[in-house]
């Protein structure tokens, strides 16, 4: 079992190095753009995809690790976007101050919703979070003083460390933050906390018997998920420079769900790949293929079903799945296999 890794393997298997390489690859994009190798819009599509990845990663902590479902992700992302737009534009706060508030406010609300999860299980929680999302959505549309209603709330490219970012600068900021988020999430979940969340999902009884406070960890899971959704919301509003109420509806929340299923539960790279499939594929691939542009939704649906049924570990695990089929014993367990207590929810 304990094979000695050679130097090369040790380097490419180092997760931190992997994250850095991914980051550098993304950071190259504007240079490629400058060299005329990719289109201007592609940079924006990828930047947005990275933003969605961050939010989806939050949902992955919640659903993948903790087994708690939320259909309100888009609502929280939107709330942060509106907060940041409001604080920077209307109250003219500096970006950093606004950022802290825009992360804090939705997160506190997210933790409160986490309290609901103490009472609701399974589908009850799903629909209750859906209702929370609908309430937020309604507020975005109606509370004109805060959200500017159906005109949409505008924001500017931020100024950080005394440097006024432009569109490309903002893209770099998104890449840097994405990679930092990847590293932090990786570190946070590979150890004790990740195991505790896993335990909670796998067997609440076992978790309690092992001294894990389900109460505390559910709140942590909701807090982490909302924090990441908020971060994504702030980045979005300062990248696209508008927050429009119709964006933050149920369809986006459901897309986040699709991302982590297609990409892979509990997988950082899977989340990234899933985001590409959902947000960038129709843009960068499908629309180039004749007759396919009208079928991106159909394809998305087919992919969701195929992945859940046949590649339950998501795209991120296709390679290892194939390797396993070629010889090794089948040792994987379906990540969404039913458990006994699932009967009611």
């Amino acid at each position: 079992m304990d094979r000695q890794l050679n130097t090369f393997q040790r380097i490419y298997k180092n997760p931190y190095l992997q994250f850095l390489i991914v980051g550098v690859l993304f950071a190259l994009l504007p240079t490629l753009r400058a060299a005329g190798m990719v289109k201007a819009g592609t940079v924006t599509v990828i930047g947005t995809t990275l933003i969605y990845t961050i939010a989806a990663l939050g949902l992955n902590i919640l659903l993948g690790y903790s087994g708690l479902i939320s259909l309100g992700t888009a609502g929280f992302m939107g709330l942060a976007a509106y907060c940041s737009a409001y604080f920077t534009e209307q109250l003219a706060l500096p970006f950093w101050q606004s950022l802290i508030l825009a992360l804090l406010i939705p997160t506190v609300l997210g933790v409160i919703v986490g309290l609901l999860s103490m009472r609701f299980v399974g589908i009850y929680l799903g629909i209750a979070t859906l209702a929370v999302g609908e309430i937020l959505s309604e507020i975005f549309r109606q509370w004109d003083a805060f959200t500017r209603g159906t005109s949409g709330a505008r924001a500017k490219y931020p100024k950080i460390f005394g440097m006024q970012l432009d569109q490309t600068g903002m893209y770099y900021l998104i890449v840097i933050i994405t990679i930092i988020v990847f590293i932090l999430v990786y570190q946070l979940l590979k150890g004790r906390l990740g195991r505790a969340l896993n335990a909670m999902r796998g067997s609440e009884a076992a978790a309690m018997a092992m001294g894990i406070s389900v109460y505390k960890y559910r709140l942590i899971a909701f807090g982490a998920a909302t924090l990441l959704a908020s971060l994504a919301g702030v980045l979005y509003v300062h990248y696209i420079r508008i927050s429009y109420p119709t964006i933050w509806g149920l369809p986006l929340s459901l897309d986040f769900l699709a991302i982590i299923v297609i990409g892979g539960l509990r997988s950082i790279y899977g989340t990234l790949v899933g985001s590409f499939v959902i947000f960038a594929m129709s843009e960068l691939v499908l629309k180039q293929i004749p007759y396919m542009e009208n079928y991106s939704l159909v394809l998305k649906g087919v992919l969701i079903i195929i992945f859940i049924l046949f590649y339950p570990y998501g795209l991120a695990h296709v390679v290892s799945d194939l390797r396993m089929r070629l010889g090794r014993r089948k040792t994987k367990v379906h990540p969404l296999a039913a458990k006994e207590e699932d009967i009611d929810g």
Partner: protein, 423 residues
Amino acid sequence: MRKLLAALLVLALVVTTMATAVFAEEHAQGVTDTEILVGNTAAVSGAFAGVGVPFNAGIEAYFKMVNEEGGINGRELRFTHMDDEFDPAKGKAMMQTLVEDEEIFAYVGHFGTPVVAATLIDLEEYGIPAVYFATGIGELYNDQAEGAQRALFPVQPIYVTEGEIMVVRAVGSFEAEKIGVIYTNDDAGKDMLRGAEQMAEQLEVTLVSEQVAAGATDVSAAVTAIKNADVDFIIAASIQQTIGTIVKALVAQDVNVDVITTYVNVAPVVAEQIFADIDGKFNVYGNGWISLADEEALANLALLGEWVGEEFALNPYSLAGWTAAHFFAEGVRRVGEEPLTWENFIDKMEEAPIKIPFGGEVDFADGLRAGTTVMNLSKVASAEGWEEVEPLQSVNVILGIEEEIEETDETGDLEDPAETEEG
């Protein structure tokens, strides 16, 4: 370090592009000796395909017609478009590709409220002309556009303006004193309400408003509340789908008061939807900025049908697309033999009012960006359609402040029919 380098590279590239585009040649980007490239992004798949597809078909039909006749000053008009799925982020990305990579000369027919709202700022930064916005959000309204804002040319009515006109109609044509507004919670409904409130204050009439969700099935509560308010005229500020729901709920609750709604609803499908329900209990009126009363408009309609094909011949959105293309082409025609630059194009667009192929005209002089502000009035006359009851009139004409100006058949240099709002 790489970041800085990359940023410099991009900057250098942009500067050179601009330089080559503006200074080295006399024409703007997208213009060659033989063609002019323009484009837009519009949702042609998903829920908004029913609007986006005929709209783009209208634009393409007009360009085809122009090109068959040899183009404008020897240049053919070429149209490219992308599907933004009504998503602002995608709309923004595609705008960058269209402007920076495809190097289009202008946006023709910018489409969809969220996308337009998200990209107005980018349009202004690029300074690229954008002719016709297939939405009526209030942000487009500007009575003193300066600098880059001058490059934006809204043509179809802005919802705020239409809200004003609806109140004017209620007061001017129907002598309403207490007006009820049932508005949807989307941009169209809320902007029309805003306009209606402004005008009601000016004209000193009472206004009560109730909201319904766009696309709702149950709007009975709002109707009950309006009924309780005992109004004598109702503005149904909602675009398609919900208008039928509102009218039917009014019928169901015996609120037999005349209703006026937006131009968007003045389409046969809406008449078909509600005619049987109204059953003569009250009238449903609708604004219109397209008048099919005069011969020229009818001729243009026949022309559209000829070029766009049977499927979209009578489609309001293909009419809109055709109009968008016409306005752009008018600007190019006016530039004539002069270099076709953004600045030139914008100046020529402002030079004189431009006629709408289907009646009325829009004046962009002195930075006025308000879309069309003259509207006619139709009512649901049968299950097949609407019939015009009042011709195209400006606010002041409806209120009887000004005399109606006789329609002439001359194109071009018509005197501005003074449609500035009376304070």
